[in-house]
């Protein structure tokens, strides 16, 4: 009789622990998805902003036509449905690089720098870029927690049963990793 109670207790205990780990893993997976969705929201904001920026600068910028066309083309490609996640990340990096180059080129056009409309758009772009960086950092924090659970014993047993694999972290672009130099940004403005 006793051994039956002991066996049932062990099974119940194992089951409860298994459910707790399972729930925790699902919660972490959902956090990762949630974080990824927040990146999407910020990228959408960035896409919405690009045409307005291109429109605001193209009247002033005579020598950067190629750059403007490239940014517009990259945006069109990025919002199309038939691209893989890897291609999309690559496109996003290129768009980010293109926008940075554009802001540097603005230095050569004092009239543009003085335009209220452009200053507002530049402020919005800075805002979106920082929100994007914040979303990526949230994603990385969520992925780190998820990866820890996938690899650490005993939750790794449940994770392998559920076919959960380690996820890769977002590589934060170098420009975002270095601290913002306020003086430089103010001068740029």
């Amino acid at each position: 009789m006793t051994w039956i109670i002991v066996t049932i207790s062990i099974i119940l205990f194992t089951l409860l622990v298994g459910i707790a780990f399972y729930n925790s893993l699902i919660k972490k997976k959902n956090d990762v998805e949630n974080a990824f969705a927040s990146i999407d929201v910020m990228l959408k904001k960035r896409y919405d902003l690009i045409p307005a920026i291109v429109e605001a600068v193209k009247g002033y910028m005579k020598h950067e036509r190629a750059l403007l066309e490239e940014i517009t083309a990259l945006r069109a490609e990025a919002i199309s449905d038939n691209i893989t996640d890897d291609q999309r990340v690559d496109l996003e990096n290129k768009i980010g690089k293109g926008l940075s180059e554009l802001l540097v080129a603005v230095e050569n056009y004092p009239d543009l720098k003085a335009s209220h409309n452009f200053l507002h758009l530049q402020g919005s772009l800075n805002e979106v870029e920082e929100q994007l960086a914040a979303s990526r950092r949230f994603y990385n924090a969520a992925v780190t927690l998820f990866n820890n659970s996938v690899e650490v014993f005993p939750s790794n047993i449940i994770a392998s049963l559920m076919n959960f694999r380690r996820k890769s972290l977002f590589e934060i672009p170098k420009a975002e990793r270095t601290n913002i130099d306020a003086k430089e940004l103010m001068e740029r403005r």
Partner: protein, 320 residues
């Protein structure tokens, strides 16, 4: 640095003569206070000796009341020159540090502003403040003052109820316009749990509170010093950029004390606990002294540098 370099000249031209006048008053008042205290002591002694049965409650009260009256008179006399010192000297010193700032000796950050920060419990039964500074520093609207917030605890002794007050916060409280728009709440609090209990402390933090969810940031040094709570994981990170985290760390080291921050309604609220009464005169030492005034100047600059320390004047986002 130029503020320090030119301060000697400012002191000689603008402050010295007034300080000497105030100092004369201080000496005069001190003499009066000494007389009052001596007379009070004599009166109390005489009452004790001459009233035959001092154990009688009513008669015992007379020396006590005489003592209290002496102390009150002393306070009234010394208040007059302290007030003058603040109005004439500290106000001018404030203008010297930043012309955009106004100083009100009796003013304070409002109770609603203090409670809105959400840093401390929402029940506050006694709230006092003084030395209120307010104004624009560059593009940043800022106000700060000394604050003493207390909570009432009722205790019953026998048939009577007694009120006891415990301090919730005493120190400097600052409200400044933050340079970004945001909608949710984020609080940065000293991390006592993690410092004491290590990793287990992290689990304790996540049990959390009404301040929102625990937010784990990627800077390990920052995480060791502070714990962050917020309503929105992304917005908390939008506010607390790696650069701002480093600035907060440097700010904490500069003040060498615990600091509390809260971001709410596009404002930043900062609480710095201090056990010192700031911008006061020295009753038994001369105030017409350059190094004493320089000390006040240093403190005022340390305070006003908050805008620079937290980079609040950088307006590269949509908030003007």
């Amino acid at each position: 640095m130029s503020r320090f370099k030119n301060f000697r000249e400012f002191y000689e031209k603008e402050l010295r003569s007034d300080l000497e006048i105030i100092d004369q008053k201080r000496k005069r008042v001190n003499r009066r206070v000494f007389c009052i205290l001596s007379l009070t002591a004599m009166a109390v002694t005489a009452e004790i000796l001459l009233i035959p049965d001092t154990l009688d409650l009513l008669r015992g009260m007379i020396p006590f009341l005489t003592g209290v009256a002496g102390m009150i008179l002393t306070g009234i006399f010394s208040r007059s020159y302290r007030k003058e010192y603040k109005k004439r000297i500290i106000a001018r010193l404030t203008n010297y540090v930043d012309e955009g700032l106004t100083y009100t000796p009796e003013g304070s950050v409002s109770l609603s502003g203090f409670l809105k920060s959400g840093i401390f419990p929402s029940q506050c039964d006694r709230f006092r403040g003084e030395d209120h500074f307010t104004g624009m520093m560059g593009k940043t609207a800022i106000e700060f003052s000394e604050v003493h917030a207390e909570q009432r605890n009722r205790s019953e002794s026998g048939s009577s109820q007694q009120n006891e007050f415990t301090t919730i916060f005493r120190g400097l409280f600052i409200v400044a316009d933050f340079n970004k728009h945001f909608r949710t709440r984020t609080a940065v609090l000293p991390d006592n749990a993690e410092r004491i209990f290590g990793k287990f402390g992290q689990s304790l933090q996540s049990i959390s509170s009404d301040r929102g969810k625990l937010i784990r940031l990627e800077d390990p040094l920052f995480e060791k010093e502070f714990c962050v709570y917020g309503d929105d994981q992304v917005e908390a990170r939008y506010i607390l950029t790696p650069s701002l985290m480093q600035r907060i760390m440097a700010f904490r080291q500069k003040w060498k004390t615990r600091i509390y921050l809260s971001f709410r309604d596009s404002n930043v609220y900062i609480a710095i606990p201090l056990n010192k009464n700031l911008f006061e005169m020295r009753p038994f030492k001369t105030v017409a002294n350059y190094s004493f005034m320089e000390k006040n100047l240093r403190f005022l600059i340390l305070l006003t540098d908050i805008v620079e320390d937290l980079n609040l004047n950088t307006r590269i986002w949509t908030k003007e």
